[in-house]
Amino acid sequence: MTKRFGEVVAVDALSLAIEDGEFMVFVGPSGCGKTTALRMVAGLERPSAGEIVIGDRVVNDEQPGRRDIAMVFQNYALYPHMSVERNIGFGLRQRRMPRAQIDARVREVSELLELGDLLKRKPAQLSGGQRQRVAMGRALARHPRAFLLDEPLSNLDAKLRTQLRAELKRIHHLVPTTSIYVTHDQVEAMTLGDRIAVMADGRIQQLGLPQELYDTPANLFVAGFIGSPPMNLVPGRIRGGVLTAETASVACPGAADGEAVLGVRPERLSAAAADDSRPGFDVVVGIVEPLGSEVIVHSAIAGAKQASAVAAADGGTIVAKLAPGSQPATGARVRLAFDQASAYVFDAATGAAIRRG
């Protein structure tokens, strides 16, 4: 599937193939083109160049209704004048399916989504979570070849979101339909996606398994986007195959001399003893957030030269995820050390990864 979008290049030469039954997630910040890409697959926008193929058919010129896809919208888009039952059956009625079969389908999805008691209600009489389930039911009832989900959970509160996320996963397990899921939430992306396409500026920055994106980010953007809290990125300089960033030095054999960025995941940092020989940062501890199972420590690099743009964006701070009980007090000077092997190095100019993990 290849698509390009002209004029305001919202989606720039995006090309990817989604396997049958795969749950693909497009994730990225707002305005990165992920929703536009989805709407082109749906047929709600016309690609200015390129081809969209569903199954073995080029569908560029087909109306949305003929593409045999179903879409779940962020604001649910339930038909307000129809009961839940009629909402779910609407697409089937449009396709002139026999009544008995429609009833059977409606019953099937209402069981799957536990909507049995709500079938006679109007959308206005439902809570947000219920509406979202009805919207999913409407899509499921169609038995489409592909599901398109446009930030379906982002209008819900945090608790409901987690609950429905699990439900989505369960449904996809039961009904493994090819799906494209658009979200700006990397946690949703990681938990739901078979594969994830991280997008920025209309381009796919990296496409891969969730674990791959976490373990081996292709560039600075992916490194900063995937993972919570995000990876620490500290500007430095490579000289003679060694990167030095602040107080930390990491070997990167074969790399050319020049500006570079050192990346370390918060969970790879630990408070070092005085005789620790591993690389590390000397920091002054700022805010400490005890979460019970772990402690998030925000700290400032002692005497940091906030030279590059990366450092300015990052505020020259280091975030560490430490084991509970071992947290330093606010204002303390500590050394946060990490293993050589867990360090990432990125080219400062292009953002591309030089050394991965």
Partner: protein
């Protein structure tokens, strides 16, 4: 129904309402007075007795039934065609991007600023060319669609969430079924408003039917009633009785649609 508490505002509003209603009340009273009571000054506000005879006279002294029927036919056709045609045009202006749509819409709006008196004679010439003069077709053809109705519905359609229409298209609707199955059911308040306004305009229209119709039996109610008003003598009681009969359907239509406005607004819950 419960009486709301009386607030100081009502002390102001009640007399204003009375002033607004007074011509109507006077008309109702005159319609049941004897002719000599109606001519007296100061006006007789409490007639000696109820003189229903006026109504019978009004109906019998003219082809009242034909006028009524003409008015009903003209209104029914004009209201139905306005709602249908304005909805189609309005949806195209609201949602379909086509070459020149904005220019066309501005031209359409501009026609709203032309008073009917200006186009009376051209309209007459066209209608005569169509061979419709002195026929109720003359009252229907120029009024089948109205720029105001297109404008009003377009504005309303644009307030509906576009996602509903996109969802319907993905569910297999074409443009026309999106309009009939999603947009129109959600536009009940706007459609009934348009129907009511069109009904009132058409029912009360006087100038054009006066110009276009000559034969007494082809007249609408409003033109017919005016024949009660002679150059030398006016039968006020009969005229007012006829007016009451002409007014009744409009009051009924207003009360009916008013109730459906409230219901449709309360039930729509557009936030989907």
């Amino acid at each position: 129904m419960t009486l709301r508490r009386i607030s100081p505002r009502h002390l102001f509003l009640a007399p204003v309402a009375l002033i607004m209603a007074s011509p109507l009340i006077w008309m109702a009273i005159t319609s049941i007075e004897k002719p000599n009571e109606a001519r007296r000054f100061p006006p007789v506000l409490i007639p000696a007795g109820i003189h229903w005879q006026n109504y019978r006279n009004a109906v019998e002294s003219a082809p009242f039934g034909a006028w009524y029927l003409n008015s009903v036919i003209v209104c029914a056709v004009v209201v139905v065609s306005n709602v249908a045609l304005c909805a189609l045009a309005a949806y195209a202006f609201a949602r379909i991007r086509f070459a020149g749509s904005n220019v066309l819409f501005v031209v359409l709006l501009a026609t709203l600023m032309v008073p009917f008196q200006v186009i009376l004679i051209p309209t007459f010439l066209i209608v005569r060319h169509l061979g419709l003069i002195d026929n109720i077709g003359a009252l229907i053809a120029p009024n089948l669609v109205n720029a105001f109705g297109i404008f009003m519905l377009r504005q309303f359609f644009r307030t509906l969430p576009i996602e509903l229409e996109e969802a319907a298209r993905i569910d297999g609707c074409n443009r026309l079924s999106v309009l009939t199955k999603i947009v129109l059911p959600l536009s009940a308040p706007a459609l009934s408003t348009l129907a009511l306004i069109t009904l009132l305009w058409t029912w009360n229209d006087f100038l054009w039917p006066l110009v276009a119709i000559n034969t007494e039996s082809h007249m609408t109610l409003q033109v017919g009633l005016s024949t009660f008003q002679g150059a030398h003598q006016t039968q006020w009681t009969i005229l007012m009785a006829g007016n009451m009969l002409a007014l009744a359907p409009m009051v009924a239509a207003f009360l009916l649609t008013q109730r459906s406005f409230v219901r449709s607004i309360a039930a729509s819950g557009l936030k989907g």
